[in-house]
Amino acid sequence: MALTKKQSDALARQTFEYAPAPESIDHVKIQPRYGLFIGGKFVTAHSRKRFPTINPATEQKLAEVVEADEVDVDRAVKAASKAFDSWARLPAARRARYLFRISRLIQERSRELAVVETMDGGKPIKESRDVDIPLSAAHFFYYAGWADKLEWAFPNRKPHPLGVAGQVIPWNFPLLMLAWKIAPALAAGNTVVLKPAETTPLSAMVFAEICMQADLPPGVVNIVTGAGKTGSLVVSHPDVKKVAFTGSTDVGKLIQRAVAGTGKKLTLELGGKAANIVFEDAPLDQAVEGIVNGIYFNQGHVCCAGSRLLVQESIAEPLLEKLKRRLSTLRLGDPLDKNTDIGAINSRAQLEKIQGLVESGIEEGAELYQPECVLPERGFWFPPSLFTNVAQSFRIAREEIFGPVLSVLTFRTPDEAVAKANNTPYGLSAGVWTDKGSRILWMAEHMRAGVVWANTFNRFDPTSPFGGYKESGFGREGGVHGLLPYLELS
């Protein structure tokens, strides 16, 4: 028997109580203090400066890490330089074996890594457990296989490693971004100095332990913790031959300027403001799931998040109704709870940035919708939010919010959808939902973005190249294309 609208609304409003289902943390040992991982072991830093890394869901300190200074970074780069010759000369099949080993160790320690990732970064355990960690292991496994097959990747050319790669990664997918950086670099025969994000250094510390466990030759992987200053020391060190950065477009531009004229090879994976486009013939329930996954996955801390929803005018009303109803069922809270959909915002600074942009949206005249949602008292939280009445000129439609905030716009024709989707300096990703095959291909062709998800969103795979057009950066990570930034071809 069909429900009346009144009944179904009542049902939608009803809150279900879920029994807590917290992931246990007793099997995880986080050290109170970490040194720097240089030359194959944790060493005492030259820098006396330390800073805490906290759990954003509780604001409790988890550990202290070093803010590496110039001497520390130099030491790490020297260790990597020293290791380079023998690593690059090692029979490629041996390099492959180390990478396979690392991949296996990540799998074996997956539960520990998932818990550490969730505690340090605030993301729901079901995401770190089902997405971040398995994809990290898969990335190492994929590139392990390339290490002794590079000659087959680039016809008519001989591949050579570059030397020391300086890599700076963000806080939204700490271990996965580490894997995206380190796996292809090592497979290609380079050595690395990696700086994890200042708010999420812990999974990189566990990874350092894994390198030791794998008996990876000393100096092949070096990890220095710190904030922006440390990162800039890594990228500007004269012995670093390759720079890879994932982060904001603003910082990416600074790095591009900093390495200008140095001959360093550069890849940048920067911000985005993806359009997720829903046509009137799309299966609406599937589209709603895709929209939710597109923007509320990982609290919207995703560079390729579908932060601009473009809905065909004729279905805007029913789609928004379904979407709002779905938002009211999202569970926000303890990231360690296995039922949690939306975890904690990564840091106070990020929370303030989201709040500021949301306020700008209200001031500029957009209409804010947030489901009823109780926020925990401690920690950093932001409810899943969506804006309607958004003009393309609003800041919330132009700037990357990097939070669980969706801007909804409408369109009438495919041409208008494409024009609006491309009306941004970014070009990282895009989504399209329609049942019409020829339209999918036409849309995919016309969207100026490096990744197009059709009737799906936010899918990742080590074999699938990822990276942006325009101000979303250059170079690709993943797939055979992801090897090129780490090789010189002769």
Partner: protein, 269 residues
Amino acid sequence: MDVRKTYKLFVNGEFVRSESGRAYRPDGGKVNVPRGSRKDLRDAVRAGRTAFPGWAARTAMNRGQILYRAAEMLDGRAAQFVELLGGGARSRRELDSAVETLVWYAGWTDKLQQVTGTVNPVAGPYFNFTIPEPMGIVGIIAPEDSPLTGLVRRLAPALCGGNVVVALAAESHPLAALTLAEVMATSDMPAGVVNILSGQRKELLPWLASHMDVNAIDAAGCSAGEIKAIEESAAGNVKRVIKIAEKEQSPYLIAAFMEMKTVWHPIGV
């Protein structure tokens, strides 16, 4: 008495004087060459942006035909170019090499995707493929020591993939590049796909490198100092700066002017 030619800039398929009204005489010769300005460059970029979607949407075969047509037109004017390049066997070799380059890349338009694209075996029920797509507007700086072939070596791969080009002619020997514009104009190349400016490199290069609607700069013909300045300005809109060696002739060079796009679609749902 011969009828002398007035050399002009090539912008949006038209031969125009510099809006600045300025000219210079390369090599202290008798020929006036327009000294292009920031505004000429702006017009060229605007023409390129307008032409880009149409050129990128041409079929690969059609772009190949047009590049081949350009080779035909260039070869047909061989004598004129040899003379412009100074005459003699060396100039003849340069001309032949430029023609050969156009023919070679004409044959790549419909093969690049097969060589650099991939179908990716993702671990899930998705069809996933990666294909090269043109970046958009590419700025090319012709090398001073190879004013024709040096330019064609970069122009051809950029056009091959579906990009449009704003090129700066060699400052000291601009006549070959400005005459190459006549070849482009008679090759069925749509207006705005190739734009060629003459003028002072130190005046135009900074505007080209900092222009917010230029997607990439090919810096093969540039000095180390110029490359540093280009890379600093390029950061303003995250331009790609391509530094592959001047003499490279390969699909890797075409790919350097391309973006890789990956498309996902579920299977079976």
